[in-house]
Symmetry: D3
Subunit: 256 residues, 6 copies
């Protein structure tokens, strides 16, 4: 079985660590393929980047030349999963939902520890839409930016543990969910320190994706996620018509 | 005051009728500018097109060369509003929310009549996220595709009225919301026949956008909708690096 | 267009400042008429006064001798709006709902800062009934009584800002709503200090009322807000049969 | 123990039948006193009459010359209970809440059968505010006006049973609540025919009011229902300053 | 009228104090019979003991040799009430629900003060299922184990009052509910100190059970609580086939 | 890895078919052990049987003499999962939750098709407590009793498909969940006919249980599901002190 694991940002090293985390729990015979979008931001920390990532991930997946059995969208709290479900016949698993769903088997309430405070409402919104928020005790920010997780893993672990302990004590969380694809691999260290189960979204998504394939289940096509109706779509896939380069202007100059 | 009214699909005639509807309620001195995305689908009827539209609308708005005072996203139930709010300092009003918000001043419960059944869950999800669903009696599909609204306006009016009457009788709606940007201008005919107030999202959004500007209010920048953090964004704006043409492949070939 | 702006208490100076706030955002050609009830309390700070105000406002509005195009009920969190909607064919806008509805276009969550702690549950209840509570981060009391707002505006601004800053920091509000008709005109000072958009209910209500009139929309009459059924009503309107005077006993003597 | 049972309309015969129903379940030693408001409508079938009743009931209760131990507000889905709680130190029980609360001990879900369709949203709103709606399967209208219940009891029973059976079959109600003070005494006939427990609000309220008194419990005065603050209240109590007569104009002439 | 009051644990002295509390509010002519399960834990402080109690209470009730008019399950937040409702034709009242229901007549919000922190989620879950959680401000733990309540009543009162005061101040509770059958009789002392109404579940349940009997109401048998279908049940009632003794192993040895 | 799959009723053939279904999706190396309770009902179709099953399953699991890695409770909508989580250190997966959780990855809304109408509220309650109800379109009864599923599989498939089609058409379900352990193995036939994904709880639970073990995750022990406190438990485990036989009286004789 081949599972595509799509990073939502353009940072290749993050794709690599996500794929490594996926492989660490994959069953024998499961091939994990890491995908990096060809356009978008080097980290997603807000709606603008997330919407761009939604399209960039769809672009990367539909451009992938080989057959595959399932897709994992490996961004925490990001947009786009529903679009992939429309475009594909194979199962699509979002790590936000995979982690929440897994956490709910382990305790009465769970908390998510994510990166920056500004990402908290995005995650809350995704969990609400997914109908997985009823037992979410809190979503807390560690204050670490996405790329800092890679650069300073020790500090990241400390910052996450600090919030995890507050979540357990004050919010009454019994399980901690790591709320960023870039936290893949930190679960073991945090579990040891926080004394509660720590759920990683990428690992959870691999289990669920493999399981759906084994059970012969895939996205229902009768309504919400039916294939797009035939129509004229200008400029799709974007990567086929665009010639983006690293020299393209950063958003800060464009936006303000 | 100049307000940009962004269509979410690439159909110019629909941009024109949306802009005309906007002008019909705009105050003297308000200039309405209709924007048509340079890429995306000729109609949005699902998540794939909607995510593409989210990016295409942001692209069109940030590429607009003149100053403006507010932006209206004129697609019903579409993705993307939060991204615009991050990118801009001026108010952003989504017609889905403008219409729901307006309807709630007119009756105890409202229903939305939209195009195809597959769009219903998207609209329900947007209303839930916006926190405007508590008094929504139902979202009903007329069965008319987006482009059919323009081609067959009489049949569209009949199909919408049929569902509106069911919504009033069975779902206990007291107000009807027209759930598609392409329905702009049909409100008067439907109001006459259905006997209840009929709310058009584009008109409502113009009122709200003008009002926010008059009150000197705009998007809060302290958390969720703060400007994107400075970072490397490859291929943005997309229209600057892409050369899309009408000959680009339709999604149906790509997707299946 | 003529809009009646009904104060909910009998304090004429408060009616004046509410009307002034309304005029400051009204469009050219909009006439604002301030109404003061002929009976009731000099400030509403609980359910007893609020229910009395509900009837007194209806009494004042139906006794107004000239035609009018819309009515604004300018009490925050008060009873009575539904009764006005039944009695009138023109739009009725409550400032509680107008402010909440406006705030939701400006940020992910909003908080209301009101007067006394005992008013908090009333406001929470009104927002819940209005279906506008899902994105309300908190309702907080400044500790200022209604009439103190007029007497000590500087202290009022300080007390409101103190709670606004707590709401932003702890409750994650991104927008502040001024939760009392008597706070009209304080928005600018608070906005400057709190660094987030500050919404005034009276101003918001004027925008919405004018907009409904411009769009030709008014209260649905098919169910909840149909005109009262013909029946014998003893003592209505109350002002026509009563001869109240300022010498009437204060409630404190009556109640305990 | 003396319990005041306040009718919400001015129809004396209805006060009598409500008081009779109350006496039929009252414990030995409980004196039931029926109160009829001195102003307001001869039946409450909407918000206008209900708000007037709220004040008229408070007026009647605070004007009652003898001591009493509890008050029952015997209108289904009406405004005003919170005001009574502020004005009094003895327990106040609303029949809407008493009936719902009782029904929840008898089955998984209950339905309310009320009078006219226009009363349904009022009842739904009261149950939502009371936090007693989670197990309410439906609120259904029998189509009988309030005064018709007295005039045509047989037809009323048939109309109520028809809706009760639909509620049991389609809405999965297991208990029926009679949603009008004027239905007092019909419970036995309906219970026999519908095959499910039928709860009468007046009887339920007597049980609860007696129980609160026996347990020495009354309204908390620490926040929401604290006594009104001392202030100038013009024209209160209204009955002391008004000289209403049956010749006062019916609302229909006033309102339109 | 005879009411069975079933303790959920095997501690006879607790049954005695629960029965005494019940008798203190029972009407003249009501006979209170305390039942102690013949198997299970000497105190219920978690799901394991609670499930065992559910069966042990059913066993004790169906084995009771005399007729009775109602049953009270006197454990706070425990499992089992629905099973009793299926097995019996007389009313069944759970003290968790009786107390919450009573508290809601006394204030805008109530808080429950229970024993150990681990019991909090059980109580929250029971209130959610009962649909009585909307006005629950909080469930707080005093830190006292069930059996410590009897052994150290003064310390218990102090610990409960400490949490009650926090609930009133921080959670905005206006009423306190004693969240353990073993707290029966402590209400008066706590009420005096906390300054808010204090509701005891056993007393509340007696009032409600007596009231249901007086009104001729009992559990609806049309759906959820219909009598069990005829079938082969091995080992029921358990007390008829078992020979448990105090020498049976404590769970700690079994479980780990 | 060894997984115990506990049937909730005493019917051995049902244990066998559940275990067979579990084995059909289990990974190589996973040993599935079917457990049948030694007391309780031959089918669970209500709360009485379900509570008995809760205890009987705990009894069977703690009496199992060999080590094991996870436990699956294979009854749909039954009580008891929380007790198992307290007693054990290995993961516990309930098929109700496993199926709902899996269905949510496959479509926007799912419906459960169960056996008898009386089981519907139990399932609704379990899903609500599990926080997995937000996207549940409906729970529908096929009208087949549990044991009839085995006796008449063709009729069962027809009855389930009939309700599944209604759920898809009227309730807008996009995924069907088989709501009874006894339906294990019917999924393929129903999927073919209903045209939507059909989720079996036993299979889903195996995937999840295996996954938790592979990820090294188990129940959090910090609060709700901490091991029972050391205490005297009379008559536990029940099977050690009881001598039940098939000749024990059926509940029908006991209960009425």
């Amino acid at each position: 079985m081949r599972i595509l694991v799509a990073n939502v940002n353009t940072t290749q090293s993050m794709t690599d660590s996500i794929a490594a985390q996926a492989r660490s729990v994959a069953a024998p015979g499961t091939e994990i393929v890491g995908l990096t979008p060809s356009f978008g931001a080097d980290s997603c920390e807000g709606n603008f980047e997330s919407y761009l990532a939604a399209i960039a991930v769809m672009d990367a997946v539909v451009s992938y030349p080989e057959p595959f059995d399932a897709v994992i969208q490996a961004g925490y709290g990001e947009h786009g999963r529903e679009g992939l479900q429309e475009l594909l016949d194979v199962p699509v698993v979002d790590i936000t939902e995979a982690a929440a769903s897994t956490a709910m088997f382990l305790g009465h309430k769970y908390s998510v520890i994510t990166t920056l405070d500004r990402a908290v409402p995005l995650i809350e919104d995704r969990l609400k839409l997914a109908g997985l928020d009823a037992r979410c005790a809190s979503v807390r920010a560690s204050g670490m930016a996405v790329l800092e997780l890679e650069e300073e893993p020790e500090r990241a672990v400390e910052a996450i543990i600090e919030q995890a302990l507050i979540a357990v004590r004050d919010d009454k969380a019994e399980v901690i969910v790591l709320g960023c694809g870039g936290m893949a691999g930190l679960d073991e260290a945090i579990r040891r320190r926080a004394g509660v189960p720590v759920v990683d979204g990428v690992a959870s998504a691999v289990i669920i994706a493999e399981g759906l394939v084994r059970m012969g289940l895939s996205t229902s096509k009768v309504r919400t996620y039916a294939a797009p109706r035939p129509k004229t779509v200008v400029g799709w896939p974007l990567s086929a018509v665009a010639a983006p380069s690293a020299a393209a202007p950063a958003v800060a100059e464009v936006a303000r």
